[in-house]
């Protein structure tokens, strides 16, 4: 079932299109991540869902009801802000109970509910503290509890982890995901961090320049990026420019084979992408095998990145630390790009690309 549906949503500021004809369905009870680089329109989209901005065009539908022009205070979608936006003049409990207090709920009831919510976010006994006495992680929990107090139909989070340090961020991602699954609440998280999106989301919507590039499950998006942009933005990828030639792709002097003949006319300009971890070194296969020189070794502990100079360009290959022999700087190696690991995209010339952006 679909809880929230956006149809042809557009937002323009003067001539600039912050969000451009976006249509997304948010399934009931699922966590969807809006993922994209800064300035891609994801926060603007979230603010339109919350009712803090009015779309220039398009409709927002909640359970069959058109809420496009409903002001934020009538929607009551709980929202966690990037800065958490906790009220410094109120205590933790008063913050959590704010929505209920202004709705005229009896005080005893507000206190009981706030305490229950604080319990839920593991802040039992913090009710009487001032906001200034809390750490970043605790503030985030208060912000989450406060947004959940009014039992919102949709729960919105705008870059909720950006104010936390790296370690805490990973913990909170897992914790938030568990909480969301427990409550079964339709949730939308805006993030620019692909690991965060992969950790938490049932579905990821990748955005760029105000448009949806791809929507799908984390694994779908990682394994089958729909566009070159997605391939580059989610995880890492080696990109190679080539020309279609008799079902193969010619990159420099090397013709790379694909699992099935490419559907491009001969001479078509294409872009190939290959994940660093898919490149195999010194493998037995002779398909898509090229020679390369190691120019840099980046040892990250569990994995090692080898930077290679090859006839098809500079590539990065990721190897498990215990994988193969100890490659050293300057070594010459044979590397294989398995056909099934290659992703192929039409290459749009730069001048056409800008033409499309302006549209």
């Amino acid at each position: 079932m679909c809880a929230l549906a956006l149809k042809d949503i557009r937002k323009t500021y003067g001539d600039a299109r912050a969000v451009d004809d976006v249509s997304i369905n948010f399934p009931q009870g699922e966590l969807t991540a809006l993922l994209g680089p800064s300035g891609c329109g994801k926060t603007t989209l979230l603010r339109m869902i919350a009712g803090l901005e009015v779309p220039t065009a398009g409709t927002i539908n909640l359970g069959g009801r058109d809420i496009t022009r409903l002001p934020a205070h009538r929607r009551k979608f709980g929202m966690v802000f990037q800065s958490f936006a906790l009220f410094p003049h109120l205590t933790v409990r008063e913050n959590v109970g704010y929505a209920l207090t202004i709705a005229g709920t009896p005080k005893a009831e507000v206190v009981a509910r706030a305490n229950k919510l604080l319990d839920l976010v593991q802040l039992k006994g913090f009710g009487d503290r001032q906001i200034g006495q809390l750490s970043g992680g605790q503030r985030q929990r208060v912000a989450i509890a406060r947004a959940l107090a009014q039992e919102p139909e949709v729960f919105l989070l705008d870059e909720p982890m950006s104010a936390l340090d790296a370690k805490l961020r990973e913990e909170m991602q897992v914790e938030l995901r568990l909480l969301q699954q427990r409550l079964g609440i339709t949730t939308i998280v805006v993030t620019h961090d692909q690991r965060e999106a992969m950790t938490m989301a049932d579905r990821i919507v990748v955005m760029a320049k105000g448009r949806v590039e791809q929507a799908g499950s984390p694994q779908e998006i990682y394994q089958w990026p729909a566009t070159g942009f997605v391939a580059g933005f989610i995880g890492r990828a080696n990109f190679m420019d080539g020309l279609a030639e008799n079902g193969k792709i010619r990159v420099g002097d090397v013709a790379l084979a694909l699992p099935k003949p490419a559907n491009f006319v001969n001479g078509a300009s294409v872009q190939l992408a290959c994940r660093p971890e898919a490149i195999r070194l010194d493998a037995a296969e002779s398909v898509n095998r090229v020679q390369g020189t190691i120019t840099f070794v980046r040892d990250l502990g569990p994995v090692r990145d080898l930077h290679l100079d090859t006839p098809i360009g500079k590539l990065v290959a990721e190897q498990g630390a215990d994988q193969g022999r100890n490659h050293r700087l300057g070594d010459t190696v044979y590397l294989t790009l398995p056909p099934e690991a290659l992703r192929i995209y039409p290459r749009v010339p730069a001048e056409l690309q800008t033409g499309m952006d302006a549209k």
Binding site: A72, G78, F81, F87
Partner: protein, 333 residues
């Protein structure tokens, strides 16, 4: 942090900045700077103040000037009258009351109107904010005399608003609807037409006009620092515009609000020109009385000085009250 703390902190920082350089020569220079600074403070602030305090205990010689003395007669005259206990007067206490009444009303009126204006201003573009601030600073540079003259023309009975009221038929309409009698009760009309001079309304209006730019400039830093997502968070939790203002914006700026109100109040205690132009002589203030005694017909400098001291003590008392309120408000409840 209160305004006074802010200033103290600024001075401390300035002192540190002056004292920071390393060598002994620089040390001597910084000592000299200190001496000069303190000498300037003494000469330009403390000495005149002390002089006023000393003169307030002086004795007025009838038909002549005054002589040094150590008498409380000027203070006695202020509180109970010169001929007490034979007869007593509350004339001067009444003037102090009007001083405070005008200052409180005008400060509150300025704050109440400047707060929403400043809030909306901080939500504008940077450029628009800069234009507004420059414009307001420019109006601050106008002299009080000039501004009061403008209001004098607008409110004068023969050429200002009352004339416009009569010419446009508004006066007749007010008479027909019965509102004219209400205005007469409020002292805003004579038998023929509405009038604003003299009246308390005109006085308070002009006074608040005078301090209005200061109110905006003093409130601006706090309101522009206010995180817009606070109001947005409240909106997503079901708060309409009024609820946002009442439960989020006002409490967030209560400290600067108290501080600004007090500063305006203290500033207005010394207002002179607007009072002499717009207030009824029976409702004149201590500041006007001080001027009349020091420079006016009676030439009674000691009594003028005593009134100044009382005004100063009143202002100080209110500033201390403000400090106390600020601390109380800042303390976690």
């Amino acid at each position: 942090m209160s305004v006074a703390d802010d200033l103290a902190y600024g001075a401390e920082k300035a002192a540190v900045a002056i004292a920071a350089p390393k060598a002994a020569v620089v040390g001597r220079v910084s000592l000299a700077v200190h001496v000069v600074l303190w000498a300037a403070v003494l000469a330009f602030c403390l000495v005149p103040l002390l002089l006023v305090l000393i003169i307030s205990f002086g004795h007025k010689v009838e038909g002549a000037g005054w002589e040094w003395a150590l008498t409380l007669e000027n203070y006695k005259r202020f509180f109970v009258g010169a001929n007490w206990p034979a007869e007593s007067t509350s004339l001067y206490l009444g003037q102090l009351y009007w001083s405070m009444r005008y200052a409180v009303s005008a400060a509150l009126l300025a704050i109440v109107t400047a707060l929403p204006f400043t809030y909306l201003m901080t939500r504008q573009s940077r450029r628009a904010q800069a234009v507004w601030l420059v414009f307001l600073l420019a109006t601050v540079s106008l002299s009080e005399v000039f501004s009061v003259m403008g209001w004098d023309i607008i409110l004068s009975n023969n050429s200002g608003l009352p004339m416009l009221f009569a010419a446009s038929g508004l006066t007749d309409w007010l008479k027909e609807t019965g509102w004219f009698d209400v205005l007469r009760d409020w002292g805003l009309a004579n038998p023929r037409n509405v009038k604003f001079k003299p009246s308390e309304v005109a006085t308070v209006l002009t006074l608040s006009y005078l301090v209005w730019p200061y109110a905006v400039i003093l409130l601006y830093p706090a309101l522009s620092r206010l995180d817009p997502s606070l109001a947005e968070a409240a909106r997503t939790m079901g708060a309409g515009p009024w609820t946002v203002a009442r439960t989020v914006i006002l409490p967030s700026v209560r400290l600067p609000l108290i501080g600004t109100t007090l500063l305006l109040f203290v500033f207005l205690l010394g207002a002179y020109v607007a009072i002499t132009v717009f207030a009824d002589p029976s409702q004149h203030t201590t500041a006007v009385s001080v001027y009349e005694h020091v420079r006016g017909s009676t030439l009674n400098a000691p009594f003028g000085a005593a009134q100044s001291v009382i005004l100063l003590v009143t202002a100080t008392a209110f500033l201390l009250l403000g400090q106390w309120l600020t601390r109380k408000a800042a303390r976690p409840s």
